[in-house]
Symmetry: none
Subunit: 223 residues, 2 copies
DNA sequence: CCGGCGGTCGAGGAGATCGTGACGACTACT
DNA sequence: AGTAGTCGTCACGATCTCCTCGACCGCCGG
């Protein structure tokens, strides 16, 4: 059996709780790395590859929210769950705003924690029906982009397919061949890709799709 | 174009639906194998090589979840999508826990199914190569440097090649001849190196590349 | 203070790549 | 059929990249 174990990074300052969670995760088949403060956690998160992060909110040196915000700014997109003694709605929003995918208040039920971790590991894989893109949301069902100001742009089928392709992996660069294969399976010339990028830009603004000269196209998540 | 068609394994007991999906997949350019029950599906999945699996949840002999769990235990890591009449959250979690990458409730939109299959296939190919440099990350694939503040700088092909050369061995000093040989094989004058160092400094900041007078250039790891 | 040797920087041209509008074919709905 | 919307091809102009060249600048030893 050479299957890869899911890797979790645990950052928790309470030694007792940390040991308990490590044991719990290992028992569930995770490969666990752990750190006792934000600084060490940051270093581990930047140097290693993890499937999911479990961060305590209150940490020495650098708290969990700060740590997560730093990671997100560095482009780390690993799903993260925040553990916190603070559980009211405002605190939750703060956590999610910092870039967390889930937020669990202490004391928590270990089974619930494990269930949420499983869900997290899958969530970014399961296809969403609405994607976040630069300057709005993209609703696949209605093939329309809703801008912050409320205006709506409806895309044609191919336009939508192209945007979906790009939006499912923000910041990833797609080569023309790659796009051609998935979005324009019936096209003969790669020129279609340029044309449809042009259509998207006309409808969504010049900055919506960025060109990487000699490589391909990509879209970002940030404005 | 002699490219290999993507192969999909379809396990569905409803003959009518199976025929419809087969036709749909073939129309999208997939090579389709199909089975009508879990037993046959398991055999096919174990003996063949597929890019993606589409499994009905309710199957005769061995249901889709069971089938998938068996496959995962056998070390088969092919991306799988579960089709099911059951669509509530608990059912979804069950499906994802069984090792599915995605879960779609019947009745489903065929375009959505196709889109999710494309997304699944791609996820399998992902590989981000990124180097850590002074003041940011350098993503080889997109040839772009992401700074801590979130700003992105896109490099040209040669700029990227030069930065990669320097970044692969941080703190090592590279002579012009050395750089010329590896980065500018077509150049005739050594002056190109200086020019491109200049380009890099203009895009990444004056401190990004340091000069060792009379010897060459280097970059560091720390800010 | 002053040559001289790198090193820095900008200009520019050839060639590659990309943007864009126009056009014909196809489809769907009337 | 008729119309509108969409799809895919194409060609030319705009832009970017790569590399050369030459002028300027700054760090050195006299």
């Amino acid at each position: 059996m050479n299957e890869m174990k899911p890797r979790v990074l645990l950052v928790e300052d309470d030694a007792q709780l940390r040991a308990m969670l490590e044991e719990l995760f290992v028992g569930e088949g995770y490969e666990v790395s752990s750190a006792s403060d934000g600084q060490k956690g940051l270093h581990l998160a930047l140097t290693g590859e993890f499937d999911v992060l479990v961060l305590d909110r209150g940490l020495p040196v650098m708290d969990g929210l700060n740590l997560l915000a730093r990671l997100r700014r560095e482009g780390v997109e690993t799903a993260a769950l925040i553990l916190s003694a603070l559980g009211n709605p405002a605190d939750r929003v703060e956590g999610l705003d910092a870039g967390a995918e889930d937020y669990l208040a202490k004391p928590f039920d270990v089974d619930e924690l494990l269930a949420r971790l499983r869900a997290l590991r899958r969530r970014h894989i399961a296809a969403a029906t609405t994607l976040r893109i630069t300057g709005g949301r993209f609703d696949l069902e209605s093939r329309s982009v809703i801008r912050p100001d409320g205006s709506v742009v409806v895309l044609s089928e191919r336009e939508s397919a192209l945007l979906e392709e790009l939006a499912r992996w923000p910041n990833r660069v797609f080569g023309r061949d790659e796009i051609l294969e998935y979005v324009f399976p019936n096209a003969e010339e790669a020129g279609v890709v340029d044309t449809y990028v042009h259509y998207l830009r006309r409808k969504l603004g010049r900055g919506s799709v960025r060109t990487i000269h000699g490589v391909g196209y990509r879209i970002g998540t940030l404005a």
